[in-house]
């Protein structure tokens, strides 16, 4: 404690974010050194503020960024590899010096051994070439996988991006109505839903998406609230696998969601046949 006078919360927050300078910075820093209460408050504020970065719009990593990082890592590791090789070269030089005084019989023996070694080196070179070829093939496959993953990420980011422009095309002069589009793969239990022109709800209410199977109770598939423009999305909610949907429905429920639908159905749709 520090005489009962504490640093204001907003000053602590700016200190935690590194936004204070000069006298203000010195004042807060000095106070913190002797005030456990303010240290505690700073910890709590810092924890809350650290999550604000998640409020940023999600963007996929540029496609080549991963390879670039790996290159930097390899470059950094290479000098170490060179320094490990160097003593081996020195050793072989020393070895040559020693041959000047070792008996010729041993030298001849070494020469015979060298022939055998030459054969072995050739074999190893072939193996090395084969492994290089396989490595290049793996790298190409990895590159293709990364490109596919990057594309999938872009698709997902587009679907989720709050700033993406969305439009539902309707017949001319038809007023915009609340609509929803569900894409559901029953065998994998994967679902993406996008809603448009949804009406805003009171604080204590939320929309809840349901997968209604042919037999059995409706399965909850996500609770959501639309943004100011009425858009909303539910991406990959946890769902059981292998349950085809007879109908998709959206109800208005309590904000925390419910296990069984209680509120009125505001949207519903039957999956198109043929899927």
């Amino acid at each position: 404690m520090n005489g009962g006078v504490h640093i204001a919360q907003e000053d602590l927050a700016l200190y935690g974010m590194g936004n204070l300078q000069g006298e203000e910075l010195a004042r807060v820093r000095t106070h913190l050194q002797s005030c456990a209460a303010c240290q505690e408050e700073l910890s709590t504020l810092a924890a809350d503020l650290s999550l604000l970065g998640l409020g940023a719009e999600a963007h996929p990593v540029p496609a080549h960024a991963r390879a670039r990082l790996l290159e930097s890592v390899q470059d950094e590791m290479e000098p170490a590899a060179v320094s490990q090789v160097h003593p081996i070269t020195s050793l072989s030089t020393t070895g040559r010096r020693r041959t000047a005084w070792i008996p010729w019989v041993i030298a001849a023996g070494l020469a015979v051994g060298a022939t055998g070694l030459g054969v072995k080196v050739n074999t190893m070179q072939q193996q090395l070439q084969e492994r290089s070829r396989m490595l290049a093939q793996s790298q190409q496959e990895a590159m293709r996988s990364r490109e596919e993953a990057a594309r999938s990420e872009r698709v997902l980011a587009l679907l989720k991006a709050p700033q993406a422009q969305r439009a539902t095309l309707t017949a001319a002069k038809t007023p915009a109505e609340p609509t929803g589009h569900a894409i559901y793969l029953a065998e994998r239990g994967e679902l993406i839903f996008q809603g448009s022109h949804l009406k805003s709800l009171p604080e204590d209410k939320a929309y809840e998406l349901w997968v209604i199977p042919q037999n059995g109770a409706p399965i909850p598939a996500g609770v959501f609230r639309p943004d100011r423009s009425g858009d909303a999305s539910v991406v990959m909610p946890p769902l059981p696998t292998g349950v085809p949907a007879k109908v998709f429905a959206i109800t208005v429920e309590r904000a925390e969601g419910v296990a069984k639908p209680e509120g009125p159905i505001v949207l519903s749709g039957v999956p198109m046949p043929g899927a």
Binding site: A8, Q9, E10, D11, A13, L14, G16, M17, G18, N19, L20, Q21, E24, L42, S43, T44, L45, A46, A47, D48, L49, S50, L51, L52, G53, L54, G55, A56, E57, A58, H59, P60, V61, P62, A65, R66, R68, L69, L70, S72, V73, Q74, E76, M77, E153, P162, V223, R225, D227, R228, V235, M236, P237, P238, A255, E256, G257, A259
Partner: protein
Amino acid sequence: MHVTKDRGNPRSSYVLALKSCILWQERRKTALMTDDSDNPMGLPLRSQKNVPSSKRGEPVDDDLLLRRVSQKDSSALTKLFDTYGGMVYSVALRVLHDAARAEDLLQEVFFQLWRKPESFVSGRGSLGGWLLVVTRNRAIDILRRKRPTESVDDNLLASAESLASEVEREAMMQQVRRALVGLPAEQRHILELAYFEGLSHTEIAERTGQPLGTVKTRMRSGLMSLRKALQA
């Protein structure tokens, strides 16, 4: 449906529900990979995270990956990059508004993690939370053409919320966005100016044309509302 609270700091039931989904998904993954003998008690996977040696010898949690990074295992670094790269890049881009500079920062953050994995101290938050803070602070330094923030990185504190899986990140992302959208526009704007542009009270007052006292009051209210929304 299982709902597990990690700490004594309960979040909203919405997030708890999402976390239960995480456990469900993790259990589903486990079911795909293992037989019941791996988990005879049916424990949530989280309870098994610290088991020192898995049958597959394939450590997946952040601590183990960091340990492998400190042993110069580049595949562990790429796993961390695959997990957190998008989040880091998004924050960098939001602050810098420049894709090339954001990517440079993305590289810098992960290269530093490679060179100095010990910079992350697990007692000060989760790895995901720490990366968010490091990225944001460094981006602000770049934006304001400052040298790397002195001593802050050594002492920085971050949320302990795990962001290691996509579902956890998505749940927390939605909660933060809901918290921000729930704030009055002026409070949100002030918090964003402080967080994403690194402005002080005086600078925010100049930028917005609001009196200094109003800026402080609104920031305080915004912080309190944010806390309430994140801990409700």
